[in-house]
């Protein structure tokens, strides 16, 4: 029995206006679901649209040239794209919260850590100031900060990178959101600190049963943390699969190339297969399959028509005509 559905993103489309030059589509027809207590990985290289997907879900594109031009985002049955800014402000933090790569720059440099936490708690709960202060200290302790009272009195610049990411997580979790969106939460951290933060996120998922959307470019982090994975390329989902299948039997040529090009610790290899070329510019997208120019299996029809994201059973989806043909003959 699958867990209760938490987030349901349907055919999300986000465009960025480029003034007179028209607009580019950063997120194109993206659909996925997250269930309670699940960690879903969203991977892809820079510019593939993974962060814009997160910002779209949170309705955080207001002061950017970006605009959601299609689709629906249901959080526990409620369409977030129809909510007013005021409603969204309540939902953010209370139902869904987000942590970013640069924890340091996401914290207010002129406020003490505890004051920032208390502010968030007071905004979203009917706790009194004293209760909120106690809760803030409790949250800091829960994320493994050794001396919560002292850290609470500090300003963000007095904290290390790992410590400020812990503070961010404490703040994000302070109102018990059901969904946590983590956008490259450990990318700026050293590996030993990354291990600590990943450990903490797993603890949150296990104990509080929070659903987590983990956005990362690091396939090692995905393999370790996620149960299901979505791979994005050029604004589209190209493959979705349970984590084991994705790593052992990747289907889409891009996923295959991506997994092969990651150096694996202890493997002893001295050269790696790489994907030729680079990601196409969003304003100069090729017709047909967006990966075709870099794909060594590409045929003429790949360059003509964009393949749909086809369901292949067993929780797998893949956007490649060649894979779809092969699956059809197998059946």
């Amino acid at each position: 029995m699958p867990e209760e559905l938490l987030l349901d993103v349907r055919r999300l489309r986000t465009e960025f206006s480029q003034g007179k030059k028209g607009s580019v589509v950063a997120v194109n027809d993206v659909s996925f679901q997250i269930h309670k207590g699940e960690i879903l990985g969203l991977v892809g290289e820079s510019g593939c649209g993974k962060s814009v997907t997160a910002l779209s879900i949170m309705s955080l594109l207001k002061d950017t040239p970006g605009k959601i031009t299609g689709g629906e985002v249901y959080l526990e049955g409620k369409n977030l794209l129809e909510c007013s800014e005021e409603e969204m402000r309540k939902i953010r933090g209370e139902n869904v919260s987000m942590i970013f790569q640069e924890a340091m720059s996401s914290l207010n440099p002129a406020m003490r850590v505890s004051a920032q936490l208390v502010e968030a708690i007071l905004l979203h709960t009917d706790k009194t100031r004293r209760e909120a202060e106690e809760h803030a200290l409790k949250m800091l302790a829960q994320v493994g900060i050794p001396d919560p009272a002292r850290v609470g009195r500090s300003y963000p610049h007095q904290l290390s990178g790992g410590m400020s990411q812990r503070v961010m997580i404490a703040m994000a979790m302070s109102c018990d959101p059901h969904l946590l969106i983590a956008d490259e939460p450990t990318t700026a951290l050293d590996v030993t600190i990354q291990a600590q933060i990943l450990d903490l996120m797993r603890k949150i998922q296990r104990e509080i049963h929070t659903g987590i959307l983990l956005i990362t470019h690091d396939l090692g982090v995905v393999a370790e943390m996620c149960s299901r994975v979505i791979v994005m390329y050029a604004g589209r989902i190209v493959e979705e699969a349970p984590v084991q299948m994705l790593f052992y039997e990747p289907m889409h040529p891009y996923t295959k190339g991506l997994i092969a090009s990651v150096p694996k610790l202890g493997s002893g290899v001295t050269s790696l297969p790489s994907i030729p070329g680079s990601v196409p510019d969003l304003s100069m997208m090729p017709p047909g399959c967006k990966f075709a120019p870099r794909c060594r299996y590409a045929q003429d029809r790949c360059r003509e028509e964009e393949p749909p994201l086809a369901e292949l059973g067993g929780g797998r989806k893949c956007r490649c005509v060649l894979v779809q043909d092969k699956e059809a003959t197998v059946q």
Binding site: G162, T192, Q196, T270, S274
Partner: protein
């Protein structure tokens, strides 16, 4: 064969501003490190931010001079040289930087960028310089047709190729690469690493490779030094270091790297706390506060590097 680079007991500190009563506080960036590099090898330094790996690269490159200790390059002691004496040697040691955006002049055409070192170091004619620059662009996998473009017209991976071509023009013996693939996506990272390996064979290069990424380092290196808080914790040939890490910090570092294989569930040595400040260095072994094996002696006495044979050197009391 005599080593190409020798670093002997080098220490470097930076001033961190004055404190009350005029007492100076200093950052101990590099503390008494020693290592050799032989011709044709790739020697890597790994470690987390602030461990002194970039400072070490800059010391070898003579962009910084050591407070004490000696640095020898190609049989000459460069640590005592001034900038004028150093200049002719610079053609033999070139650098590749992490951020190809910041290290290429945005207002110069690619061919001029790549030809510039030849202008500084050789007496070649302008035509000859451009001819060689175009040839190198082809060698690093760019087209000579792109020679008249500006850096912003290239992707990150291509810009890193330009940086590599620029470093190669003067046919250096040593290339110091400071995090050359850290800002690149994995599919591009593999392209650049493969290119660096091909060029090493083609031009008989020696690499000093600085990185925080243990998987990348494993792929490209012959020997590896692990640094922590300005000291070298362990030096070993690649296979030995990954198969048989002896320093508890190396062990923790290796176990912390997420492996892209969902079936691998590893016993992780989870380190407590953060790296201590390099201003107030801990007494004794610099790693003792986070070390799972820490005992009394570690808090009192600095461990001396011990040679375990086969080029495996470890600085730890518990070996």
């Amino acid at each position: 064969m005599s080593p190409l680079v020798q670093v002997k007991n080098v220490t470097k500190t930076f001033s961190a501003g004055k404190k009350l009563l005029g007492k100076k506080s200093v950052v101990h960036a590099v503390n008494r490190i020693s290592f050799d590099m032989v011709q044709g090898e790739t020697f890597s330094i790994v470690g987390e931010s602030g461990c002194g790996k970039s400072t070490t690269a800059r010391l070898v490159n003579h962009l910084l001079t050591p407070d004490s200790g000696e640095i020898w390059f190609d049989g000459k002691q460069i640590s005592a040289m001034n900038e004028n004496q150093m200049r002719p040697l610079r053609a033999d040691m070139q650098m590749i930087f992490q951020d190809p955006n910041g290290s290429l002049n945005p207002r110069m055409r690619v061919e001029d960028l790549v030809a510039e070192p030849l202008l500084v170091h050789t007496g070649l004619s302008a035509d000859e310089r451009l001819r060689q620059a175009r040839e190198l662009l082809e060698i690093v996998g760019l087209s000579a047709k792109h020679a008249r473009r500006y850096p912003h017209e290239f992707s990150g991976g291509q810009r890193q190729r330009i940086g590599i071509a620029r470093a190669l023009t003067v046919r250096p013996k040593l290339i110091i690469a400071d995090e050359p693939v850290s800002s690149l996506d994995v599919s591009i990272q593999a392209q650049v690493l493969n290119l660096m390996q091909r060029l090493q064979a083609e031009f008989q290069l020696t690499y000093l490779f600085i990185s925080h990424d243990l998987s990348v380092v494993e792929m490209i290196s012959d020997r590896i030094a692990v640094m922590y808080l300005g000291c070298i914790a362990e030096i070993a040939p690649k296979a030995e270091l990954y198969r048989n890490p002896r320093h508890p910090y190396t062990q923790a570092l290796l176990s912390a790297v997420p492996v892209p294989d969902p079936a691998v569930k590893r016993e992780r040595v989870l380190l407590q706390g953060d790296i201590p400040s390099a201003v107030h260095l801990p007494e004794g072994c610099l790693f003792h506060a986070r070390c799972p094996l820490c005992t009394d002696i570690c808090r009192r006495q600095v461990p001396e590097p011990q040679d375990l044979g086969g080029g495996h050197v470890v600085a730890c009391h518990h070996i």
